[in-house]
């Protein structure tokens, strides 16, 4: 259970996903369609990017509640640059990502300098960054049209550039976590900060890096969002942090640090996106949507924890 996650765990998550897809298909017409696939894949990039960043933070033993607000900051800055200042898209995108990175760096710096729990620091930024997004846009939605159409282009099989980007970044993040020095240091700090420090890993540096990454990915999520809606909305991404946490945890990431997988987080994202699309497809009422979402989140994590325990027991009985 504590080894690098086995195939069986991925299979199990994939099975959960398949079950959802199957269920929705049976319950409604037209669910199994290219259109639905596109809807789901369109919804994925921003959630996936935010969830990847959050997984980095979680593995290193922190939490980042500000991802939603930071994604709004990126969108707001982009919208302001393009719509109000008439800057070229590339420059605006750079500025937006820069602003998001700054938010991440602020998170990391506060956590490090004041030795405060990241929960409270990022809760502060959840408020503060949102306020900043309102200030930048003057609380107005900025219409942008096709300005970021590039991200929405569908070069292969109806899959958008944003989606492919999310997939590529998931693979990269997975590689970073499992195969690089940085990744192992993250795990070490998340598992036991004091021990890691004694071994010579700098928790301060690790935290600075993960919050920076999280900010940057949240910014990218914000841009994907802008691209999708063709408008920069300072209210964008509210509640994104909770969905992202849910995705990571459904994927088996521990909220206590030290344990998590990027691939599994991505499957978690797929599950959540499918669930949302499916419930809307069925036209389920708002109250039932909430109830079902709650049940699926708890159910998915519960099922996985039961599976893991059964697997552990079986491994034990079968000897080492």
């Amino acid at each position: 259970m504590l080894r690098s996650r086995g195939l069986s765990e991925f299979l199990f998550l994939a099975l959960l996903l398949a079950a959802l897809v199957g269920l929705f298909g049976l319950l409604s017409d037209h669910f199994w369609s290219l259109g639905t696939l596109q809807t789901v894949t369109n919804r994925i990039p921003s959630l996936a990017l935010a969830a990847l960043g959050l997984t980095f933070v979680l593995v290193a033993g922190g939490i980042d509640l500000s991802v939603g607000s930071v994604s709004a900051v990126a969108g707001a800055v982009f919208g302001w640059c393009v719509a109000d200042r008439g800057m070229p898209v590339a420059v605006a995108a750079g500025a937006a990502l820069g602003a998001a990175l700054v938010c991440g760096v602020i998170n990391g710096a506060l956590v490090n300098a004041l030795r405060m729990p990241s929960f409270i620091v990022t809760l502060g930024l959840l408020e503060g960054a949102r306020g900043f997004a309102y200030l930048v846009t003057n609380s107005q939605t900025k219409y942008l049209g096709e300005r970021l159409a590039l991200l929405q282009a569908t070069p292969v099989g109806g899959l958008s550039v944003a989606f492919l980007l999310a997939v590529a970044l998931t693979a990269t993040a997975h590689f970073v976590l499992t195969r690089t020095v940085l990744g192992r240091h993250l795990v070490a700090v998340g598992t036991n900060e004091e021990a890691a420090r004694l071994i010579g890993v700098s928790p301060t540096r690790v935290r600075a890096v993960v919050f920076g990454i999280s900010g940057l990915l949240a910014g990218l999520a914000g841009l994907c969002h802008v691209a999708r809606l063709g408008a920069a909305d300072p209210n964008a991404g509210s509640g994104l942090e909770l969905s992202a946490i849910a995705a990571a945890v459904i994927g088996g990431t521990s909220l206590m640090g030290g344990r998590g997988s990027m691939l599994a987080t991505f499957i978690g994202v797929l599950i959540i996106a499918t669930l949302e699309a499916g419930l809307a497809h069925l036209g389920v009422s708002e109250p039932m949507k909430r109830v079902v979402t709650g049940v699926v989140i708890v159910g998915a994590v519960a099922a996985e924890s039961i599976r893991a325990r059964i697997a552990a027991r079986r491994a034990r009985q079968g000897g080492l």
């Binding site: 409604s28 017409d29 037209h30 669910f31 369609s33 259109g35 639905t36 596109q38 809807t39 369109n42 919804r43 309102y134 003057n138 609380s139 107005q140 939605t141 900025k142 219409y143 049209g145 929405q152 969002h225 999708r228 809606l229 063709g230 408008a231 909305d233 300072p234 209210n235 964008a236 991404g237 509210s238 949302e276 699309a277 499916g278 419930l279 809307a280 497809h281 069925l282 036209g283 708002e286």
Partner: protein, 294 residues
């Protein structure tokens, strides 16, 4: 605080203080409303002071109640309120009235039954959302055939203006003999509406139109239609006439919206309140709603 009688309140400063209590100022519509009110106040700086407040989250009623209490504590002479809920604000507004404060209801109409039960009367100065939505709906329906499948994305179902707009759309849909296949909430938000619209488009491949309770949600719906590659095949209507909707109206992606003269809405309310301070008369007043679109 109850010691404040209307007379002592009126006697204190020469200039009356008017409090404008809004919903989320982070929402462009209410932002515009507040801006208009501030401009108006600046133009009449000699006549009254204006205090503007809004809540963080459209659903956080407690915060709005606190705002009203805070205004009572500040002994303002008049409160102009866009209630976040048509029932939950009634008791606190009753307290305001008891404290001798003039109260005017704008934007979202307070529930008549609740007002009656509380034994108070508060004038409503604002648009007829239902009529406005019906006009928008008719403009869109003109472009459709009888029997065409259509959908509604409504705002927060607990809010009266959301309900009125839905009812207005439904009126128009009924009149034109369209087929309403689904109604879902987009919680007033662009992103939620985008998700809901995408799924509606998949679930109903022949869908011809989506009626949205506000322009933000209309923006989300347009993006969903574009993503599904059904531009021009699915028409959209909105409400509020925010600035970001203009390019879409121009391009025809959005057929119609309604302009409630957001910048004037609060002004109407404030003027009504000032008049009431002078005349002590209470009366509802309808403000204009213009249909925007081709």
């Amino acid at each position: 605080a109850k010691s404040d009688s209307p007379s002592s309140a009126a006697a204190a400063p020469a200039k009356p203080r008017v409090a404008l209590v809004m919903k989320s100022l982070a929402n462009e519509f209410f932002g515009t409303m507040a801006e208009g009110a501030k401009k108006h106040a600046a133009a009449h700086a000699a006549d009254f002071d204006l205090i503007v407040n809004g809540i963080k989250n459209e659903t956080d009623l407690a915060e709005q109640v606190s705002l009203v209490e805070q205004m009572i504590a500040m002994r303002v002479q008049a409160i102009v309120i866009a209630p976040a809920d048509s029932k939950a604000l009634v008791p606190v507004l009753k307290r305001a009235l008891t404290a001798g404060i003039v109260v005017v209801n704008i934007d979202n109409r307070l529930d008549a039954a609740a007002l009656k039960e509380a034994g108070i009367a508060i004038p409503f100065v604002g648009p007829d959302n239902r009529a406005g939505a019906a006009a928008v709906g008719r403009a869109l329906a003109k472009k459709l055939q009888k029997g065409d499948p259509v959908a509604i994305i409504e705002g927060i179902p607990t809010a009266d203006n959301g309900r009125q707009r839905r009812l207005g759309f439904e009126d128009a849909i009924k009149e034109a003999g369209l087929n309403l296949v689904t109604t879902q909430s987009g919680q007033w938000e662009m992103e939620k509406a985008n998700g809901v619209a995408s799924s509606m488009l998949n679930a109903h491949p022949n869908l011809k139109a989506i009626f949205c309770g506000n322009d933000n949600m209309a923006l989300g719906a347009v993006a969903a239609i574009k993503a599904a590659g059904r531009e021009g095949k699915v028409l959209v209507a909105g409400f509020d006439n925010i600035s970001a909707i203009k390019p879409l109206l121009a391009s025809g992606a959005v057929v119609a919206t309604a302009d409630q003269h957001a910048d004037q809405l609060a002004v109407f309310g404030i003027d009504a309140a000032r008049e009431m301070l002078r005349t002590k008369k209470t009366a509802d007043r309808a403000t204009p709603v213009d249909l925007i679109g081709r």
